[in-house]
C-alpha cells in the first residue's frame, strides 16, 4: 500500500501524461474482470437491501409500499438495537484488539528458526481449519456446565469449577464468546503478519547488526515499522469480519440471556428471519454498513497521515 501511495503522490511528469492517457485507460482491462465478477454477484443483493430499507415489505420481500425513513426510525427507537450497538462495539474492539495483541508476538516467534517450527505453525493455524459454526458448536459443548470438558479439566486441576454454568450470565457468556472470537481470528492475522515478516529483507537486519543494534532495537526499528502496512490490512479486515461475525454468538447463546450478547448482526438476523421484518432488517444492515464505512474512512485516514509523517 505504501509503495502505491508514493506512486499516486508522484505522477511522472505532467507533460508525459496526455499522450499516455489512452494507454492508462487500456490498463483498466486488468481490473475489469474483478469488477465484473463482484458487481454481478454482490451488486444486485446490495441493491435489494437498499430498496427494502426504504420500503414497507412483507416477510417474503414483497413490497407493500414506500416507507422512506420509517424503518430507520423504527430501529433507532428500539432499545435492543441501541444495546446491540454498544455490545457490537465491545465485541469488535475486544476481539480485534485481543487478536492483534496475541498474533504479533506469535508471528514473530513463528518467524524465528527453531526446531519443530512447521509443526508449531500448523497448530497455530488449526482453529482456522474448522468452520466458525462448527467451532462455536464444539465450544458450546466444551463450556457446558455439567458435561463439558472445560469444567472437567479445571476440576481435575483442583479448581472449584465443578458444574460451573459459563453461559448462564451475559457477562461470562460474552467473555467466552470474545475469547473464541480471538482464537478463530488469530490464524488469519498471524498469516498476514507472517507474510509481512518474510518480506522484510534480511539485509536490513544484517546492516543493523553491524551497526551494533540489539535484537530488541531491530524489532522496534525495523520489524514493527515494516509490518505496519500489513497490520493496517489485518486490523481493517478483522474489524470488518468480526463486526459482521454471526455464528459464534448465534450458536453459543443466540444473543441471550436477555439480549445481553446480541450484536447488530444477530439483531438483524432475528428481525429478518424470526420476526419476518425484512424491511427493518435491511435498514439495520444499511446502518451497519455506514458504521463500518465511517470506521474504515477514519482509520485509513489516520494511519495514512501517520505513515506519511513517519
Amino acid at each position: 500500500m505504501q509503495a502505491t501511495q508514493t506512486n499516486d503522490l508522484a505522477p511522472s511528469g505532467r507533460r508525459a501524461r496526455k499522450p499516455r492517457e489512452s494507454r492508462n485507460l487500456s490498463n483498466l482491462v486488468f481490473i475489469l474482470p474483478s469488477i465484473a465478477l463482484s458487481l454481478t454477484i454482490i451488486g444486485y443483493p446490495i441493491f435489494e437491501v437498499l430498496r427494502m430499507a426504504v420500503m414497507d415489505v412483507n416477510r417474503f420481500g414483497k413490497i407493500r409500499g414506500f416507507e422512506g425513513f420509517g424503518n430507520f426510525i423504527k430501529i433507532f427507537s428500539d432499545p435492543v438495537f441501541i444495546q446491540s450497538s454498544w455490545q457490537t462495539l465491545i465485541w469488535t474492539v475486544s476481539v480485534v484488539g485481543g487478536t492483534v495483541l496475541v498474533a504479533v508476538p506469535v508471528a514473530i516467534v513463528l518467524n524465528e528458526d527453531f526446531h519443530g517450527r512447521s509443526i508449531a505453525r500448523t497448530i497455530i493455524l488449526l482453529p482456522w481449519a474448522v468452520s466458525l459454526a462448527m467451532t462455536a458448536l464444539v465450544w458450546r459443548f466444551v463450556v457446558n456446565g455439567d458435561f463439558g470438558t472445560l469444567n472437567l479439566a479445571l476440576t481435575q486441576l483442583g479448581l472449584p469449577f465443578n458444574n460451573h454454568p459459563w453461559l448462564a450470565d451475559a457477562q461470562s457468556a460474552f467473555a467466552i464468546e470474545i475469547l473464541v472470537g480471538i482464537l478463530v481470528s488469530v490464524p488469519f492475522t498471524v498469516t498476514i503478519i507472517l507474510g509481512g515478516l518474510t518480506s522484510i529483507p534480511v539485509t536490513l537486519y544484517e546492516a543493523a547488526a553491524m551497526d551494533g543494534a540489539t535484537r530488541w532495537q531491530s524489532l522496534r526499528r525495523i520489524t514493527l515499522p515494516m509490518l505496519s502496512p500489513f497490520l493496517q490490512i489485518a486490523i481493517v479486515l478483522n474489524v470488518i469480519y468480526v463486526f459482521n461475525s454471526f455464528p459464534i454468538i448465534w450458536i453459543m447463546t443466540n444473543g441471550g440471556p436477555a439480549n445481553g450478547t446480541d450484536i447488530l448482526i444477530t439483531y438483524v438476523y432475528k428481525q429478518a428471519f424470526a420476526f419476518g421484518k425484512l424491511d427493518v432488517a435491511a435498514a439495520g444492515s444499511v446502518v451497519m454498513f455506514l458504521m463500518l464505512l465511517c470506521f474504515s474512512v477514519l482509520y485509513l485516514f489516520m494511519t495514512r497521515n501517520r505513515s506519511t509523517d513517519g
Binding site: F30, I41, I46, R121, I123, S131, A133, L152, P229, I240
Partner: protein, 276 residues
C-alpha cells in the same frame, strides 16, 4: 544442550499457552468422537471413552454421505480459489505496477464489497441465483465465494507486489525481455509466497463458509461439509454430539493438510529474501 535447542524450547514455551487453548477443543472432539452416544451424558464424565469406538466415523461415511459432502467442499473451495486468483492477479498487478485512472476508487470499491455480510444479502443472493437458474449448482458457490473473497486476494497480492523491488523487472526489460516475460520469469516467482498465502485464505474461507452454501445448495447430495454437519445433527430434540465431533475432526483434515503443505512457500519466501 545446543543453543538452537535452548532457543527452540524458549519458542515452544512462549507459544504454549495459546497452543493449549487451540488444542483443547481438539482433545474434546477426539474424546467425544470415540464415545458411544450413551457415554456422553453420564453421571460421571471422563475424558477416555470406554473403548475405542469408531462407529461414529463409519456412520458418517456409510449412512450419512459425508464423503460426498467433503468432495463438494473441495470442488467449491478449489474452484473459488482459482477463480479469485484469476481475477485478482491482474488487478493486483495493475494496482501495484501500472498507471490506472481511478485507482483509489477501485480500492475503496473492493473494501466496500467486504463491508456487507453475506448474511444480510441472503435474500438478494438467493433471488439472483434463482433467476440465473443456478440454485443447486456447485458453480454458483464457486462464483459467489470468489466474488466475496476476491477483494482480499487483490489487497493481499498488491501488498506483496509492492514489496518486490521494481528494478528487478526493469533490469529484465533492459535485458530485452518483454513485459509479460519479465512478469512471468522475474516477478511471478518472487511473489509465490504471496500467492500461496492468498490461495490459503480463499480456500479456507470457502471451505468454511456456511450461510451461502446453506441457502443456495438445497439438494442433500450437493451440500458442503459444514452444512452437512449441521444437517446431520440438527434434529429438533437432540444434538448428536458424537457425530458432530467426528465430522468436525474429519472436516479439519483437508485444511490441515493444505496448511502443512503451503508452509514451504512461506519459508522459501524467507530464503529468497536472504538471496537478494
Amino acid at each position: 544442550m545446543s543453543s538452537k535447542a535452548k532457543f527452540s524450547l524458549l519458542c515452544w514455551g512462549a507459544l504454549m499457552p495459546l497452543m493449549v487453548v487451540i488444542l483443547f477443543p481438539y482433545a474434546t472432539m477426539l474424546s467425544t468422537a470415540l464415545k458411544r452416544k450413551d457415554e456422553i451424558f453420564q453421571f460421571e464424565i471422563s475424558w477416555l471413552p470406554d473403548g475405542l469406538y469408531l462407529g461414529n466415523f463409519v456412520e458418517l461415511f456409510v449412512n450419512r454421505g459425508f464423503g460426498q459432502a467433503i468432495f463438494n467442499s473441495i470442488y467449491i473451495s478449489v474452484g473459488a480459489t482459482l477463480v479469485s486468483l484469476l481475477v485478482a492477479l491482474p488487478a493486483a498487478y495493475a494496482l501495484s505496477r501500472l498507471k490506472l485512472p481511478g485507482k483509489s476508487t477501485f480500492r475503496t470499491y473492493l473494501l466496500i464489497t467486504q463491508m456487507i455480510s453475506p448474511i444480510v444479502l441472503i435474500v438478494g443472493l438467493f433471488r439472483l441465483f434463482a433467476y440465473l437458474g443456478m440454485i443447486n449448482d456447485l458453480n454458483a458457490l464457486v462464483f459467489a465465494h470468489s466474488a466475496f473473497y476476491m477483494a482480499f486476494a487483490v489487497w493481499m497480492l498488491q501488498s506483496y507486489f509492492d514489496t518486490i523491488p521494481k528494478d528487478l523487472e526493469e533490469a529484465a526489460w533492459m535485458d530485452g525481455a518483454s513485459r509479460f516475460a519479465s512478469f512471468r520469469r522475474v516477478f511471478l516467482p518472487l511473489c509465490l509466497p504471496g500467492i500461496a498465502v492468498t490461495s490459503l485464505f480463499t480456500f479456507v474461507n470457502s471451505w468454511n463458509e456456511y450461510a451461502m452454501a446453506l441457502t443456495i445448495l438445497r439438494d442433500g447430495s450437493l451440500q458442503t461439509a459444514p452444512v452437512r454437519i449441521a444437517f446431520l445433527t440438527g434434529t429438533l430434540y437432540e444434538t448428536e454430539w458424537n457425530i458432530i465431533m467426528a465430522a468436525t475432526l474429519i472436516a479439519t483434515l483437508p485444511v490441515a493438510i493444505v496448511f502443512a503443505s503451503i508452509q514451504s512457500y512461506l519459508i522459501r519466501g524467507l530464503s529468497l529474501g536472504g538471496v537478494k
